[in-house]
């Protein structure tokens, strides 16, 4: 039972932070299918940096957890510039830009991983091996039934994500930047008429989405295998998109969606295990999160609405 909560949370939270990235981008009016690529590329840069730093300074890679997270954010952000430039400056179709970025990310990171391993370590390995993340348990609270599991075997990144998510909420809803950002996604003309540069706002929004996705990707890398390899591209970026649409582009409902995914996923695995069915049946339980989502959407979708200007190429002259 505890496993459901522990595993569910450690899956849901990285997904959540990627989804928040998506919310930023989409709230500003830029469709973002590139989350998958951002999280992968971010994780790549994070892992690469950790490995290279460990190699250059002889540091134990175990201690470079936070360094990896930091660089993953930088890497995700750096890569997201492509999406920003393509869809804002070059007025490219945002969907194609997103899809292209995913294709590029997979191609580039697998290619570069082997290339860098060969160059630096002389062995063209297809993965960067990281130290595993610490996990901690808050004694005392951890003993409370059910709730206690939330405080058991926690990855440090879970705490970081919650803090950042809170900050992301504040930035989006309380500051002028957030106000302008949301307005850009609803009616960019109004923002433009107010003398604010829509492109700059959207540019920042996309970069933030890259940054947060990079963080999410790195967390996945740590929580799943403590490796970086092309296995990072498991479609979680797309799942994050589903979550944020499910959450109607709002932060708290999106968190709910992510938790739903997380718990249904770990719960599915748990049920399959405890029912002692042949392993093929595990597959059947794995559909749980997706079927649940669809069912819930049937009830909750009526009032859902994307940001009005989402995906539209902003052209001052056009009305």
């Amino acid at each position: 039972m505890d496993t459901i909560i522990i595993d569910g949370l450690s899956f849901a939270l990285p997904l959540f932070i990627i989804a928040i990235g998506g919310i930023y981008s989409e709230k500003s009016g830029i469709t973002n299918l590139a989350l998958e690529g951002f999280q992968g590329f971010g994780a790549f840069i994070g892992a690469m940096s950790a490995v290279l730093i460990a190699n250059a300074f002889g540091t134990d890679i175990q201690n470079l957890f936070y360094v990896a997270l930091l660089f993953a954010m930088i890497g995700g952000m750096g890569f997201s510039i492509i999406h920003a430039v393509l869809s804002i400056k070059f007025k490219a179709d945002q969907v194609i830009s997103g899809v292209v970025i995913n294709i590029l990310a997979l191609a580039l990171t697998t290619f570069l991983t082997t290339q860098i391993n060969a160059l630096v370590f002389g062995a063209a390995s297809d993965k960067f091996r990281l130290g595993v993340s610490e996990r901690f348990t808050i004694e005392g609270v951890a003993n409370i039934p059910v709730i206690g599991a939330v405080f058991t075997n926690v990855y440090p990144f879970e705490v970081i994500i919650i803090v950042i998510a809170f900050f992301a909420w504040y930035l989006l809803y309380k500051t002028k930047f957030g106000m302008r950002l949301r307005a850009s996604g609803e009616n960019p003309h109004s923002v433009d008429a107010a003398g604010v540069n829509v492109s700059k706002i959207r540019f920042s929004a996309v970069l933030i989405s890259g940054l947060l996705s990079g963080l999410g990707g790195m967390c996945f890398a740590y929580s799943i295998s403590a490796n970086f390899s092309s296995n990072i591209y498991m479609g979680y970026g797309f799942l994050a998109i589903a979550a944020l649409i499910f959450g109607n582009w709002r932060i708290l409902p999106t968190l709910a969606a992510c938790l739903l995914f997380g718990f249904a996923k770990s719960g599915g695995a748990f049920i399959a295990q405890s029912m002692a069915l042949p392993s093929s049946f595990t597959d059947l339980f794995m559909i749980l999160p997706y079927v649940l989502t669809l069912l819930l959407l049937i009830f909750f979708s009526k009032s859902n609405r994307a940001p009005r200007a989402l995906g539209e190429i902003y052209d001052k002259g056009k009305r």
Partner: protein, 510 residues
């Protein structure tokens, strides 16, 4: 130094296929109301968009307060104390009034001396004050989505005032307002002028110019025709200058010859999305050869009546009969086939597919049937022929003829295209909702002529308009609506403008 606060010299602006402004020079004095007049597509909005920093001119110079400037952005314009109230409002409908007004110039505060946040509360107070000062009362915490059009316009004006604009540009501000609201707005504009602001007013309504403006520039096909002193010029003269011919304001029309009943609306009730009754138990009939007008202040249910008859809105009670047949539950397509033409209020989101070309839009109601399509296959030639024919017949102007993307056409010409398409259907019942909104007087005259012509050919016409003059002018029968209920139905001769106005305000009812 000149005594002009704004000078635009030799401004030329080209768009693909068209010269929107051709060597236009105007000067505007501080503290005057300067009007811009011209047919649809004459280049008024373009000229003012240049002043507002939306476009950069291809040629020409701009001087503000005697200094040469290159206005690179709306922000730059705002810094020069130029503010523009756009024809199409630029508001975020999910945001409150305050949020919309302060967007871009947000007042900030710090939480715990560290985290800056937008100080909405303070802004609310400030805006409430500002709105009182200028007589534009609003509730700053209301969302735009919940506001009427005229309220939204107030917000636009407040936005400009909040930024302390000295030069205010109004692009067709009255097009969407009721007579009372227009009256009010013109009062505000005069008040602003008297307070020392300089006003540029674009409008198609000559009385408005006559009433408030000091001087008036007339544009025609991108060229400046003349700048007039309003006091010394009659509206007739203005019209003539603008259109290039004499314009008849009073449409001459023969008395109606009403024949059989075409439309019967029987105890109609319509609910909006929130389940609120916006049309309550409305009944009326329209006959062949009759123009039936619904008069009323905006948002009193008249548009919903039209939508319900055309099938765009569900009916929650009552019946609609067309030529005796119950069509209450017919599909939109069937209603069209059975004989309804419909000119919708919102031409851009309902009347047209903006990314289709003109000829396609002209055939939007007929594309599926002979001769445009046979056995499901479309005939390009038919589309083109039909399009060319209508462009000629209705004088629809655009950059690239039938191939023009409708999005790039001027609003007035978009409207003409819709009217052309709907009249060509030759339906027994024609519904015109706000057919002349934003259309120049020459075109208005034409539209009115066409309506009367159709009536005389035995069509039944339902006219929904916010403009009392228009209604008094063309209608045979008038139904006045207030709060979703028809207050009065009577022949137009039996009613005076004043009486109708009173019914419209709900002040008088039977």
């Amino acid at each position: 130094m000149s005594d002009y606060i704004v000078e635009m010299k030799h401004i030329t602006k080209r768009f693909p296929g068209i010269v929107a402004n051709d060597d236009v020079s105007i000067g505007i004095k501080k503290g005057e109301i300067f009007a811009l007049l011209g047919e649809n597509g004459a280049g008024k909005s373009t000229l003012m968009s240049i002043l507002g920093g939306m476009y950069e001119p291809d040629e020409g110079e701009i001087y503000i307060r005697g200094e040469k400037v290159q206005i690179s952005s709306p922000n730059h314009a705002a810094k020069l104390n130029i503010g523009m109230v756009h024809q199409h409002f630029k508001l975020v409908s999910d945001y409150t009034i305050t949020e919309n007004i302060i967007l871009g110039v947000e007042p900030m505060k710090k939480f715990a001396g560290l985290f800056p946040y937008v100080d909405i509360r303070n802004a609310n107070r400030k805006i409430e004050e500002l709105s009182k000062n200028f007589g534009l009362e609003v509730d700053p915490t209301k969302k735009i989505a919940d506001l009427t059009v005229s309220m939204q316009q107030r917000v636009e004006i407040l936005k400009v005032l909040y930024r302390e604009a000295e030069i205010l540009i109004f692009d067709e501000p009255t097009a969407v307002l009721t007579p009372q609201e227009i009256e009010f707005l013109l009062g505000i504009i005069e008040g602003l002028r008297n307070g020392g602001k300089t006003i540029i007013l674009i409008t198609h309504k000559l009385e408005e110019i006559k009433k408030v403006a000091d001087r008036c520039a007339v544009l025609n096909k991108g060229n400046l025709v003349d700048v007039l002193d309003v006091k010394e010029t009659s509206t007739k003269q203005m019209a003539q200058l603008m259109v290039g011919r004499e314009v008849n304001f009073e449409s001459a029309k023969a008395p109606a010859v009403m024949k059989e009943e075409v439309l019967k609306v029987d105890h109609l009730t319509v609910k909006n999305e929130d389940g609120f009754e916006v049309v309550k138990d409305v009944s009326f009939t329209i006959h062949s050869g009759e123009i039936f007008a619904i008069a009323g202040v905006a948002d009193n249910g008249q548009v919903e009546i039209a939508d319900a008859i055309a099938g765009l809105t569900k009916v929650s009670g009552g019946k609609v009969l067309l030529q005796g047949k119950d069509i209450t539950n017919e599909s939109i397509r069937n209603r069209t086939e059975m004989g309804i033409s419909y000119i919708p209020e919102d031409r851009q989101s309902f009347g047209l597919v903006l990314d289709f070309d003109l000829s396609t839009n002209l055939a939007l109601k007929q594309y599926y049937r002979e001769p445009f399509a046979s056995k499901g296959i479309l005939s390009k030639e038919e589309f083109e022929q039909f399009g060319s024919k209508l462009i000629d017949k209705y004088d629809i102007r655009s950059g690239q003829g039938i191939k023009t993307q409708v999005r790039s056409m001027s609003g007035g010409n978009q409207q003409k295209a819709i009217i052309a398409r709907e009249i060509e259907l030759q339906s027994p019942l024609m519904i015109f909702v706000q057919p002349t909104r934003g259309v120049d007087i020459g075109a208005i005259e034409n539209i009115h002529k066409m309506m009367i012509q159709q009536r005389d050919q035995g069509k039944a016409i339902l006219l929904v308009s916010l403009e009392l003059d228009e209604i008094m002018n063309v209608a045979d029968t008038i139904g006045v609506i207030y709060n979703g209920q028809l207050q009065k139905i009577a022949s137009s001769e039996s009613l005076t403008t004043n009486e109708v106005g009173e019914y419209m305000m709900g002040a008088k009812h039977e």
